[in-house]
Amino acid sequence: MKRKWVIPITLVCIISGFFLSFQLKVLANNNNTNPLSQKNTNLVMIINDLEEEIKNQENIIEKIRNDLSGLENRPIPGELQELQNQLKDARIVAGLTPVVGKGIIITIDDNKEGLKTNPNDDPNKYIVHYEHILNIVSELRVGNAEAISINGQRLITSSEIRCVGNVILINTTRIAPPFEITAIGSPKHLAEIVTNGELDIMQSLNYPITLQEADEVIIPAYKSGLQFRYAKPVKEAK
């Protein structure tokens, strides 16, 4: 039998084998059998782009704020100094400046061990839900926490804690476990109030939790812009 066919077939086999395993690997890495996956990737790309844009804009805001505070810190004569101080205080209350002080650091994570040992159970019983965070934050506020941040997101009056699928939105930023909740206030007081509340419940459900009292925690400033488009101050009757 002639053997002239061996080389071409071998060549074709090599390339076919390459294609085959390459494709298998790509599909195995993205085992997304959802028929909408292509659409999803487009949406994911859009989301990623927009988040990138938000980050850029936040950087611009931060730069402008820094410039602004540089201008404000120039020595000003007379009455303006008083106004200046008032403005600074208002900024701190609004959460537009990074603050430092005594406080506590709480970390909570999904109960991965529990899910591993009971793989057939409802996973909702083992993941951290936004309600957990919401409850902890409410308790911290009851305990007079003066500043709170979650995974670096400063909570201000307009901050939301909202469930969106498998992540949580805070300040329209997606955050995922493990969650680190930092609060400034009386460490003892805050620790007591949360350990007798939501953390106790989560502990009994075997969530991995740590609580740490610290002499110095730093809480970053709120990064986005604040805009009131509809609310106007009520005119006081003279």
Binding site: I9, F19, S21, V26
Partner: protein, 122 residues
């Protein structure tokens, strides 16, 4: 049968190389890649078929291999741009050819086996 070792070895080498590369193509193009895979498999089977039917031509096989894989993927892509699902047409065409080739190989091998047996009997 020893001459079959080389193609099988080639297949294994290809699989190993393919699983070793860390390069990733964007998910959107995975669909077109799958057509190329189908076309290349079809070419391999077509080649084996032509060997069994003893009218093998290396040039035909190689050109067919590359043009089929590339053109099929390109056409499917073009179809998606135009809003026509040519992807399914390609999958269907190559699928049918694959099974057809497989059947032809089986027929030929069976035929060869029988003629050999008859010769031995005589």
């Amino acid at each position: 049968m020893t001459m079959w070792l080389l193609p099988i070895l080639g297949l294994i080498i290809g699989v190993l190389v393919g699983s070793a590369v860390t390069f990733q193509i964007p998910l959107i193009y995975v669909k077109y890649m799958s057509i190329a895979v189908l076309a290349s498999l079809d070419s391999v089977l077509g080649g084996i078929r032509s060997i069994t039917e003893s009218h093998f031509d290396g040039a035909v096989l190689l050109t067919g291999f590359f043009t089929n894989a590339l053109l099929a993927a390109l056409l499917a892509y073009l179809g998606d741009r135009l809003g026509v699902d040519l992807y399914y047409a390609a999958v269907f065409a190559f699928g049918v050819r694959l099974f057809h080739n497989l059947a032809a190989i089986r027929h030929q091998l069976l035929l060869q086996y029988r003629t050999k047996k008859n010769e031995q009997k005589r």
